[in-house]
């Protein structure tokens, strides 16, 4: 095993070497926190069908067009 100094950065870390641009899906607070730190964020307003209520979601799937 090589020492930590010699470890090559992973693809994920390389991503953070360049300017970070984020697509945030779901909770808008995360987008706000990143924006406050100067990160460019596009927020996607998304929630699970029927707010995550499994019974309603299952019923909706049976009532498609």
């Amino acid at each position: 095993m090589s020492g930590s100094k010699d470890r090559k950065p992973s693809a994920n870390l390389k991503l953070l070497d360049s300017e970070v641009r984020v697509v945030n899906v779901g909770l808008v607070q995360f987008a706000g926190d990143l924006r406050d730190q100067g990160v460019k964020v596009v927020h996607v307003d998304w929630a699970p069908p029927a707010g995550g209520d499994v019974k309603l979601a299952r019923l909706l799937s049976k009532l498609e067009d």
């Binding site: 929630a47 029927a50 707010g51 309603l56 019923l59 909706l60 049976k62 009532l63 067009d65």
Partner: protein
């Protein structure tokens, strides 16, 4: 027929509707089954024991107005002893704003849907402030109702008949381009309809003093057109009822205690949940501590794609109801487009490159997205007899739509 086919039929009937204001006549002539001591109210069914303050205030006031009680105290005692019968306006082809009182001697505006031949009715708007629709019930309020019954109503009826009716669809289309959304802003349409009526009023009203009073009353009431728009909404939506397998909402209404919806595929059954409190702006001297929960049949306006659904046409209303900056108005309309089947090309919004208003609320989309219909509304004082204290925005309770979805699924045999 699939659900999609059924909903296409529903929206097609909405778009083909041809509502025209054709008359003003006494309620006892207009409405079958309306008799002594029967009081029609806004929203789903409601007993005296469950009525909020303004609704009780209006009931006692209208009872004195009709001569069923000598004073408010006697009217309250009579109501508590079951002397009056109560029923929803919607069951009698009527709608009424806020408390929505409809009784035998009030003059009702008649809107006929020429495409389908059905008629819908609404009382004449009393103006802003201390009025019966907000629970006002003192002598001043009742005297105004008497003048509406004895002078304004008959004069409007004569003028509308002389005009051979007033087509409403195109008038509303113009109003949208002039900044109205037809629920909390009716400045343009009130002016436009007065412009249509004024020559006929002048020709058919003998007494110059009465004519001057009538013109001043309508000209001084920015919400005069609201009640016309409500009867129009009811006339448009009634032919959409009872389409098998349609998930389109045919009525939304509140009685100050409960919010109720009706859905085409489940007929005239109400799906109800406790009504919510509007968030908005208050007149000087009042605050949310004074506010009554939401009420009125006026949500028929949103049911046809106007009001909160057409907020983008009316940036001024966004400020008036405390919904945020004018730039936010477009987002309200875009959001409502996510829960509707289609749009109405005849009611286009200039600020959205003439996109039509969102049309045909689909209960499936409401439940799936969690986006409840946005409603622009007036706010009544919670105590009887005070009147309007503000204006705001309220959301329809999601529970109504969830209940409706379960009932709809059961009706079409989907478990």
């Amino acid at each position: 027929m699939t659900i999609a086919n059924a909903n296409e039929t529903a929206v097609d009937r909405m778009l083909r509707g041809d509502p025209q204001l054709v008359d003003v006549i006494p309620a006892k002539e207009a409405v079958d089954g309306l008799g002594d001591r029967l009081i029609l109210h806004a929203g789903p069914p409601l007993d005296w024991a469950d009525m909020c303050g303004p609704m009780r205030g209006a009931v006692t006031g209208i009872a004195v107005f009709e001569g069923w009680a000598e004073n408010l105290e006697q009217a309250e005692e009579a109501a508590s002893k079951g002397f009056f019968e109560f029923a929803p306006n919607h069951d009698f082809d009527c709608v009424g704003p806020m408390t929505g009182m409809t009784t035998i001697s009030q003059p009702l505006m008649v809107v006929e849907n020429k495409a389908f031949g059905n008629r819908a009715y609404c009382a004449i708007n009393e103006g802003l402030g201390k009025v019966m629709r907000f629970g006002g019930n003192d002598e001043e309020v009742r005297d105004r109702l008497k003048w509406i019954r004895d002078v304004l109503g008959p004069a409007l009826g004569r003028a509308i008949r002389a005009a051979d009716g007033i087509p409403l669809k195109s008038l509303v289309g113009r109003g949208l381009t002039m900044g109205d959304e037809m629920h909390q802003r009716n400045v343009a349409c009130s002016g436009l309809i007065l412009r249509e009526l004024a020559p006929h009023l002048a020709r058919t009203t003998d007494n110059p003093g009465d004519l001057a009073d009538i013109l001043a009353f309508i000209g001084g009431n920015d919400q005069f057109f609201l009640n016309v728009a409500m009867a129009m909404g009811k006339a448009i939506m009634d032919p959409v009822r009872n389409i098998d397998k349609s998930t389109v909402v045919t009525a939304m209404a509140r009685n100050g205690t409960d919010f109720g919806i009706r859905v085409s595929g489940t007929g005239d059954r109400w799906f109800t949940a406790p009504v919510e409190m509007p968030e908005g702006l208050y007149f000087p001297g009042y605050s949310e501590k004074d506010a009554n929960p939401d009420m009125g049949d006026s949500t028929i306006i949103e049911t046809i794609g106007l009001g909160g659904f057409a907020m983008a046409a009316s940036p001024a209303v966004a400020g008036f109801v405390g919904a945020g900056p004018a730039s936010e108005a477009l987002n309200f309309t875009r959001t409502m487009a996510e829960i509707t089947v289609s749009e109405n090309p005849e009611w286009a919004i200039p600020a959205m490159d003439y996109q039509g208003v969102p049309t045909g609320i689909d209960i499936r989309r409401v439940v799936e997205t969690g986006l409840a219909p946005t409603i622009n509304t007036g706010i009544a004082h919670k105590e009887p007899g005070v009147g309007q204290v503000g204006a705001g925005v309220v959301r329809a309770p999601l529970k109504c739509f969830e209940q409706a979805l379960f009932a709809f699924a059961e009706k079409i045999g989907v478990a």
